[in-house]
Amino acid sequence: MVENQRWLDILAHAVLICGVALVAFPVYVAFIASTHEPSAFATGTIPLLPGDNIATSYTGVMAGGISSQMSVPISLMLFNSMVMALLIAVGKIVISIVSAFAIVYFRFPFRVLAFWLIFITLMLPVEVRILPTYEVIADLGMLNSYTGLTVPLMASATATFLFRQVFLTIPDEMMEAARIDGAGPMKFFRDILLPMSQTNIAALFVILFIYGWNQYLWPILVTTDDSFYTIVAGIKRMADVVDSEPNWNYIMAVTVLAMLPPVAVVILMQRLFVKGLVDSEK
């Protein structure tokens, strides 16, 4: 703060309160909607004060079978999302950290080529190669499986670059000392590099967990069997009802459940989250 001006402070607080309200408004509306009975939406507008149907809404969607489009229990979808997010985060970290190790600590023919091949993945998001990638997955028989959901998303240039950056800042003396003491590459990797990059791994894990949890296009392409549906990809199907009014309280309960885990991660691990975000965008 450069100068003490009362009106500027008040203005700044006003702006921030509006911002917080704007950000929270849709989630508030969704949560309130999830606490009402289906009949509350039949006439007029969305209620803005809580109802008393909260327990029924949430236990109802968790168990499933409310109506045809909500037959899959949400607990199963939450489980699928959790599996997908964890596998993607762990897989990406493992794959990236070993390739960064290879690129930084070894010199071998085609090293630069390997680096560029990894770099190219930055330029090929799923969205631009939807159909051919789908064909590959179908040919490999990976549709409707956790392998199909996760493995194709595990190559990541960003994570590899991040670990390369981290390794380059680790002093050369560490490795020299390790070699003098007779440590081989894998021992050096396990006992020195991994502990030294702990914080980076944790920060990246937070970002990648959110990334994996929030995947939408990929699960839609790869899964047709509802027992493999993830929650984020599943909501849309529930909201699409052809013949009757949607069950808004159930849909909004699912929406709230779909955002709860990643939002909790961001709020509880804010420091790691910010670090991961800034690191991975450098």
Partner: protein, 295 residues
């Protein structure tokens, strides 16, 4: 390329370490991308029985099709609106937080969490609020302005819906980077300007904004990529490109033509156009963001 002063001498090990990443890259990235390029030169008959090589004709057809040009226009309008609104709101909030001393941390926590909300979920939230029959905002619009909101029929309403949802989701990301950018501006510069009699508004335009330009430029590129690709989920979950193509962006059209319409050649050609666009953006990002915009 940078390496260490000393290295390990193993011959086979580095290949083994790189193998998983390169295998995934080759099978799920390079091969499909190559297929897209290859298919973009082919045309399949209506029954999928034979394919013929048609050279550049898929591309010609694309750029002569009014639907594709419309989609291009939709994408430009959508991107510009989303980028400007999300950057503007985020900058305003970041400037306000930058003034705070004790309350900066709680405000930041309350503002950053939408980053974790999936774009599809953001779409569903606003789609509910804007629901023409029971939504709260259409009701308010009807009462105050007498405006009859219906994004299922009106293209402009649909566009506003997807822009609002996309902006809402992106504010927290931009906010975090603007706050970091503001913190890296030396306080002495603003203090010196204040002593010279520059008021808060003048200081913003002559000191803060120019010194923030590296952050702004970086965010500009990231946000354009966001509006081009990540917002697929917002559109798919809310308007599905409609009504009457009003929100059919380039990425949504690739999906729609290829996956729903099964027009392989055209979808592949569109994929290739998008790949060129991403390459251009990545190039800009690495070439100019690395060097940093200077003042």
């Amino acid at each position: 390329m940078q390496t260490k002063r000393t290295i390990f001498g193993n011959k086979g090990l580095p290949y083994l370490l790189l193998a998983p990443q390169l295998a995934i890259t080759a099978v799920f990235f390079l091969w499909p991308a190559g297929q897209a390029v290859y298919q973009s030169f082919l045309r399949e008959d209506a029954f999928g029985l034979s394919t013929t090589f048609v050279g550049m004709r898929n591309y010609e057809a694309l750029f002569n099709s009014s639907e594709y040009l419309n989609s291009l226009q939709v994408t430009v309008v959508f991107s510009i609106a989303t980028v400007i609104a999300s950057l503007g709101i985020a900058l305003l909030l970041a400037l306000a937080v930058d003034r705070m001393i004790r309350s900066a941390a709680p405000y930041t926590t309350l503002l950053v969490w939408p980053y974790a909300v999936a774009p599809a979920v953001a779409g569903i939230l606003w789609w509910f609020i804007f629901n023409p029959a029971i939504g709260i905002l259409p009701y308010a619009l009807e009462m105050t302005l007498g405006y009859d909101w219906n994004h299922n029929l009106n293209g402009n309403d649909a566009m506003i819906l997807v822009v609002v949802a996309s902006v809402w989701k992106q504010i927290s990301y931009n906010f975090l980077f603007f706050v970091a950018g503001l913190q890296s501006i030396p306080a002495s510069l603003r203090e010196a300007a204040a002593i010279d009699g520059a008021g808060p508004v003048k200081r913003f335009w002559t000191i803060t904004l120019p010194l923030l330009s590296p952050t702004t430029f970086f965010l500009l590129v990231v946000n354009v990529v966001y509006t081009l690709f990540d917002t697929f989920a917002v559109i798919h979950a809310t308007t599905s490109g409609g009504p009457a193509q009003a929100t059919n962006t380039l990425v949504y059209k690739v999906f729609d033509d290829g996956f729903i319409g099964l027009n392989l050649g055209s979808s592949a050609a569109q994929s290739v156009v998008l790949m060129c666009l991403v390459m251009l953006l990545t190039f800009v990002q690495f070439r100019y963001v690395e060097r940093r915009v200077t003042y």
